[in-house]
């Protein structure tokens, strides 16, 4: 893969003698995420946010307390650079550039066409190219699915449990994913759901929990290739769905019910992964 297909063309230039604090502010608004560094009229390197972070005060508060602000304020762009920049020709291969960056411990290389610098290639560019290549060889799959179902008949215009379950299991089967079927019981005591002792109506609640677990287990068709787990939680639906999604590291949440309902909307707004509203 030639490097010219990966390179970016930064327009921002900063002098090596310039204050690092000022350069950092410019860097933050730079769309390419890097600035060319010039010294005595010659481009000598590339300044990235990683360089700034490495040169600046520690991000760990206990260590930063020992760093004098007056000293870090005097840092220049040259202080953030890691030696002489790596310069590669326009027709260089990506592998050669990666090797050069690794050997010289640099985060970006200057791409030159003759004597002119025409672009920059960063380790991020190389990583994204590598990711694409790896994903082409083995396409990324959804590994874990969370399917929120209700074993009781759906009311209020929602799609049936079977549809949500069918879609969830079909996606799980095609991706070879682990599917977690979740049922949330609003009026169930959280202590009962966790198997802890509670007050007078504990027998009734335990009976309801056992019934819900059995109903959920009955929903799972026999002889399917997908790994299916079931879970019953107590409390608010959205909180429980999001909690289980976080616990199981779900890649996708499949939800039934009325699509525009507050429950679905709230889940979409707070979920850390996409939501398929069935």
């Amino acid at each position: 893969m030639p490097i010219k297909t990966l390179m970016r063309s930064p327009s921002g230039v900063v002098e090596a003698t310039e204050s690092l604090a000022i350069a950092t502010r410019r860097l933050a608004s730079e769309p390419d995420g890097c600035l060319l560094v010039r010294n005595r009229g010659r481009v000598v390197g590339v300044l990235t946010m990683a360089d700034v972070r490495a040169a600046g005060p520690s991000t760990i508060p206990t260590l930063a307390a020992y760093e004098s602000p007056s000293l870090t304020a005097h840092l220049t762009v040259a202080d953030a650079l890691r030696g002489e920049g790596v310069v590669v020709p326009l027709n260089a291969a990506a592998a050669d550039v990666a090797r050069a960056l690794r050997t010289r411990q640099q985060r970006a290389a200057l791409v030159a066409d003759g004597a002119d610098v025409v672009g920059v290639v960063t380790t991020e560019d190389l990583l994204s190219a590598l990711t694409e290549r790896l994903e082409r060889d083995s396409p990324p799959r959804l590994a874990r699915l969370l399917v929120a179902v209700s074993p009781s008949p759906t009311v209020g215009g929602g799609r049936g449990t079977r549809t949500v379950l069918d879609i969830g299991l079909e996606i799980g089967r095609r991706h070879g994913a682990t599917v977690t079927l979740l049922h949330v019981m609003r009026r169930l005591s959280p202590r009962i759901a966790e198997g802890l002792p509670v007050g007078g109506d504990s027998d009734v609640q335990r009976w309801r929990l056992a019934g819900a677990r059995a109903s959920l287990a009955r929903l799972v068709p026999t002889g399917i290739e997908t790994t299916v787990r079931t879970a019953v939680r107590a409390g608010e639906v959205v909180d429980a769905v999001l909690a289980v999604a976080a616990e199981t590291l779900a890649d996708l949440i499949v939800m039934g019910g009325r699509r525009g309902s507050a429950l679905v909307r709230e889940t979409i707004c707070r979920a850390r992964c996409p939501v398929l509203a069935v």
């Binding site: 082409r136 990324p140 890649d251 525009g260 707004c269 069935v278």
Partner: protein
């Protein structure tokens, strides 16, 4: 799967579509909905007619989408692009119906705070009226595919 994209959020949803469809196979159609074009007039004379304006915007939109389409095609998916003019939600639902989509994918950019309870977004309208499942990814605050 019909994928509603716009200029700023396409990169957010396309990787998820790729991840969802790549192992299973399937068709993805990227849909970009633009506001209806208006004729440009100056000193009482029409310089550019609305259809000419739409045509140039359509070409630019197809050029923008072609990068994502070729990337999806390169991974073995049947991807195509479509540009429509009108209201995003209505145009999306119409396109889903015309194309016979099995699902619609959208990117949500919800309003923050109390506003989100009082404002209806394109995603709300699609969720309420779509006859097929809707995959919603968020523009921010969600992990990447």
């Amino acid at each position: 799967m019909l994928v509603l994209v716009d200029g700023s959020t396409a990169w957010r949803v396309v990787p998820w579509i790729r991840r969802l469809l790549a192992p299973a196979g399937g068709d993805a159609r990227l849909l970009l909905v633009l506001p209806p074009a208006r004729a440009v007039t100056a000193a009482g004379r029409t310089i550019v007619f609305a259809d000419q304006q739409e045509q140039s915007e359509r070409l630019a939109a197809h050029f923008f989408l072609s990068g994502f389409v070729s990337r999806l095609c390169g991974e073995g998916l049947a991807a195509s692009a479509e540009v429509r003019f009108g209201k995003p939600a209505a145009a999306t639902l119409e396109a889903a119906r015309d194309w016979g989509a099995d699902a619609i994918a959208v990117v949500d950019s919800p309003a923050r705070g109390w506003r989100r309870w009082f404002t209806r977004t394109v995603v709300d309208e699609i969720l309420n009226h779509s006859p097929v499942p809707v995959l919603v990814t968020r523009a921010s605050g969600q992990r990447a595919a």
